[in-house]
């Protein structure tokens, strides 16, 4: 187990994981994992993306995980590409082809590999090879790069494209696709294209000359990625905000959410400036801290703008007080929480679903917020858009609970679809509408859905103004310390949360092929590995379960029914404290004891093997004590 790579789970695998072809002379096709170890800050990302894209262009699904340190330059980093023609491209612990380019990690890297792994080894690291059960191709990178790249300064960057060429030959990736991918990758820097192409070619050439064909794993052309997009979740979220009509975005830099803000900045500059005047129809503000960022969002929401921020764990902690203000004064606001590993600073460059419970109840006192939980870039796009609408509709804080895995990795995804509905502006009364009614009570439940009406500052009508305060108020927004005003308002807010339950994205259910009394629930980025696990359990273990993907909190009636209808339900979470289970158990005690937890919290993206192991262990103990 190559633990130091971060490729293992907290529990050791006890089951065979990769379906390793037993017959070695029939290569396994389109089912493998490539891992490239380099040093942070050496620009290997471009090469790795070229490698990834060239496979994609051959029509074969891939998933990528970039495992980088919280450091700017010099520490080890690993880029993993999982190729799987069934579409199971979530994290997988073991590697089929390893590219070793980094001295700092190479000893541990090599020691951790499974026997029989193919290794592309930088000749300069040859001294690190201390075992003979690997299939090693020692490549003289330094010499090769010297040949293609006369400029010594550029060699550190260009050398990476050489291993792309080598890997292409070893695995059967077509060189034309590599070249096309290079063109795409360097579209903004045309000068770099030729140099990189020749580097790739040099690697390929060397490989063809020195590496005998292997019969373990191969990539072959398919037709499975047509129309798909390959994009980071954060970029998709940013696009969602843009199409959601965002007007004010305030943020403070923090990994892994900064790239969302940066993508938004780029997108908006292109698409959201007034074509006539060139002026901005939005404000993006880098605030001085998260308190200010959230303050700006709340202020903007109050004044009538669609406003959002993006942050990660430490940020939501700092936003807690203002989150409660948004909840209680009923001001629309959106927080995109790109979750990283906490508590505290935690692992800023590792993924987690550890903020679920925190976000749901963020702030002191009785607060419950609405959480949307995207599982892929398409949903990151949609839910970021929906969040802005829902915040207006419900007049409250809505979270989008993304995570580092989704946000900062490139995912193969269905293409985005343009919104079909106009922007939801919620219950806002204009001066004209105020004329029609005899009374405007800011916090009154007029429609029975517990959502009150509001007016925007600047509305020229004597009935429009009201006073917004985080302190107790009556339904006309007047300060009140009366017990019945307080309790009544808080009860209405609870009812509003019930309205939210009916408006959030519905859960998705996939029934097992055979009737079963067992259910499995996952959310967010646990979806793909969990479905892979279920598929594998069905095939290899004849074990079947119905599957529900939770896409929001509060949980919809459908979700609760799903649990009611199964004897036991395994809820997969990437946190230690079974945070969503805690929420479900608290709100639906009658099904509390049906929920069992599958937990994964070591910072790695979840993998199917972890789900399978824990599930089988739990099922075994279930059988023992019926």
């Amino acid at each position: 187990m190559d633990d130091h790579l971060g490729l293992s789970s907290q529990q050791q695998a006890t089951l065979p994981v990769g379906a390793i072809a037993e017959e070695r002379n029939v290569p396994r096709v389109n089912d493998l994992v490539i891992c490239v170890a380099t040093s942070n800050g050496t620009g290997s990302i471009s090469a790795n993306l070229v490698l990834a894209r060239s496979i994609l262009q051959m029509g074969v699904p891939i998933g990528t995980k970039n495992l980088f340190p919280s450091n700017i330059q010099g520490l080890p980093t690993w880029f993993t590409i999982r190729v799987n023609e069934q579409g199971w491209v979530a994290n997988r612990r073991d590697v089929d082809l390893f590219v070793a380019m980094n001295r700092e990690s190479v000893f541990e890297d090599l020691a951790g590999l499974r026997p029989g792994t193919l290794v592309v080894l930088n000749a300069e690291l040859a001294d690190a090879l201390q075992r003979d059960d690997l299939i090693v191709y020692t490549v003289p990178f330094t010499q090769l790069v010297g040949d293609v790249c006369p400029e010594p300064k550029l060699r550190r960057l260009v050398v990476n494209m050489i291993y792309v060429g080598v890997v292409a030959v070893v695995l059967g990736i077509e060189l034309e696709e590599v070249e096309a991918a290079i063109e795409k990758q360097f579209a903004q820097k045309p000068k770099a294209i030729e140099l990189n192409k020749s580097a790739a070619r040099a690697g390929a050439q060397w490989a063809r000359e020195h590496i005998p064909p292997q019969d373990f794993v191969r990539i072959e052309r398919r037709n499975l990625t047509t129309n798909k997009i390959f994009v980071e979740g954060n970029t998709a979220s940013a696009a969602g905000l843009m199409f959601g009509g965002i007007q004010v975005f305030a943020w403070y830099p923090i990994t892994p959410s900064s790239s969302l803000a940066e993508a938004l900045t780029d997108l908006m500059a292109t698409w959201r400036r007034d074509p006539v005047t060139g002026k901005a129809t939005y404000a993006i503000i880098q605030a001085e801290d998260e308190l200010a960022a959230m303050g700006m969002v709340v202020g903007a929401g109050w004044a009538g703008a669609r406003a959002a921020t993006a942050t990660s764990g430490p940020g939501i902690s700092l936003m807690a007080e203002l989150a409660g203000l948004s909840y209680f004064t009923e001001i629309p606001a959106v927080i995109i929480d790109v979750q990283r590993v906490g508590p505290s600073t935690g692992l800023p460059t590792r993924t987690s679903q550890g903020d679920m419970l925190k976000a749901y109840h963020l702030s002191h006192g009785d607060c419950k917020h609405v959480l949307l939980i995207p599982a892929n870039p398409k949903e990151a796009f949609e839910f970021s858009m929906t969040a802005l609408d829902l915040a207006q509709r419900l007049q409250t804080l809505v979270f989008v609970m993304s995570d580092l895995d989704l946000g900062m990795n490139y995912w193969l995804s269905d293409p985005l679809e343009p919104p079909t509905q106009p922007l939801d502006r919620g219950k806002v009364l204009t001066a004209e509408e105020l004329d029609q009614i005899t009374e405007f009570a800011r916090y009154r439940d007029v429609d029975g859905d517990a959502i009150p009406y509001r007016t925007l500052p600047g509305t020229r009508h004597p009935r429009a103004p009201f006073f917004t305060q985080g302190a107790g108020h009556d339904d006309r927004a007047k300060r009140s310390e009366k017990p019945e005003d307080w309790a009544g308002n808080l009860e209405r807010l609870a009812r509003k949360h019930e309205t939210a339950r009916t408006l959030v994205p519905e859960s998705l259910v996939e029934l097992a092929t055979k009737p079963t009394r067992v259910g499995v629930i996952a959310y967010g980025t646990s979806d793909l590995p969990t479905r892979e696990a279920l598929a594998r359990l069905a095939t290899a273990h004849e074990w079947h379960a119905d599957y529900l993907r939770l896409r929001a909190l509060p949980a919809t009636a459908k979700t609760v029914e799903f649990i009611e209808q199964h004897d036991r339900v395994y809820l997969v979470e990437q946190n230690r404290d079974a945070q969503v289970a805690a929420i479900l158990r608290a709100e639906h005690p009658h099904i509390a004891s049906r929920i069992r937890s599958i937990l994964h919290f070591n910072g790695q993206p979840l993998d199917a093997a972890t789900v399978i192991e824990q599930l089988l262990t739990l099922e075994e103990s279930e059988e023992e004590q019926p």
Partner: protein
């Protein structure tokens, strides 16, 4: 203070946009009788009225404190936002960018601004967000019953004998250091000066900070407090006599040359400063910093316009290159790119 300012027009029953002064009032105050904050509210009412501000077009922002409550006590035709402690600056910034056409008036306490909200306050100043930011400075936490604030006098004591060993924070000096282009200090009891300074602030485009000593009659009005009514009254040293001339009025009084300095504001209105003995030039940052440092050292309570930038810099909305229409009023077609853009993005990401 005697006056040499433009002959005051007899207060008409309505202002130029047709409203009576009453229209600018708010709910009845629940502050202690005699609280300085109530005088400031009264001056704000007058300034808004006299400046012909659209009574529907004000965004009243505050944090938490006795001072912050006062946003309920003026301009009842406008929306007010009594947010959370220390974040008025941030919330007002967000509100301003959402609707730059509203006149943003923030009222805040010394606890709010100089303690918990100091960082956010200074960063709002740095961004030059167009906000009239009034600090109702009583050297004390009124609403929580009298603890020292960060502007408490060094050496002052609480009832239980606790002594404050720290120098007071000077919000004016800090604001100037952060690039504020309209900085004034006044006293809640100096009605005329305060109204003029508020009007100047309303006409200024950019952050305007007015630090107003506002006695807390309940917790900090004792003998020896420099924030007491008595002390402020007896020790106020105005830098100048100050008058406000709206853009639509001519100055109707002649001055001896050299006795008066005119500060022209964003909309063409002017502040007319009549010198009083000293020869202070409020358009020099250096002079302003030196003035405040000397006042601190010599424990002088100087009031007046401390600094106004000779050439104002772009306000926050200009920096952001915002469209003319307030963002909050933009229709869908400005807020959502065409559906084809989705396909363009898909293409880009393939």
């Amino acid at each position: 203070m005697s006056t040499q300012q433009p002959a005051p027009t007899r207060s008409p029953a309505t202002n130029r946009i047709g409203y009576e002064q009453n229209v600018y009032k708010g709910a009845t105050s629940t502050l202690c009788a005699g609280c300085g904050h109530d005088s400031i509210t009264a001056q704000l009412v007058r300034a808004l009225w006299e400046c012909n501000v659209d009574p529907y077009g004000i965004a009243k922002m505050s944090g938490i404190g006795c001072s912050s409550k006062t946003t309920a006590y003026f301009a009842s035709l406008s929306h007010g936002f009594n947010g959370v402690h220390g974040r008025a600056a941030a919330i007002a910034t967000g509100s301003f960018v959402a609707n730059r056409k509203l006149l943003h008036v923030a009222v805040s306490g010394d606890g709010d601004t100089a303690s918990i909200g100091l960082g956010n306050f200074l960063h709002m100043v740095r961004r030059n967000v167009p906000i009239v930011y009034v600090i109702e400075n009583n050297g004390v936490y009124g609403l929580t019953k009298g603890q020292f604030s960060a502007t408490a006098d060094k050496g002052s004591t609480l009832k239980d004998g606790l002594r404050n060993d720290l120098e007071p924070v000077d919000c004016c000096a800090l604001a100037i250091e952060m690039g504020c282009e309209y900085v004034a200090r006044s006293f809640s009891g100096d009605v005329k000066q305060l109204v003029a300074l508020l009007k100047g602030a309303i006409a200024h485009r950019g952050t305007a900070v007015i630090d107003v000593v506002s006695p807390c009659v309940t917790f900090n009005n004792h003998e020896g407090s420099t924030k007491s009514l008595k002390f402020a009254r007896e020790h106020e040293e105005p830098l100048h006599e100050i008058g406000f001339v709206p853009y639509y009025e001519e100055i109707r009084v002649d001055y001896e040359p050299g006795t008066v300095q005119e500060i022209i504001l964003h909309d063409g209105s002017r502040l007319v400063l009549k010198k009083l003995g000293n020869d202070y030039d409020p358009t020099s940052r250096e002079a302003a910093l030196v003035l405040l440092e000397q006042a601190r050292r010599e424990k002088h309570f100087i009031t007046g316009l401390i600094y106004r930038a000779p050439e104002p810099s772009p306000a926050f909305d200009e920096q952001l290159e915002l469209v003319e229409t307030p963002l909050a009023h933009l229709p869908d077609e400005f807020l959502r790119p065409n559906p084809e853009v989705v396909e363009q993005l898909n293409q880009l990401w393939r």
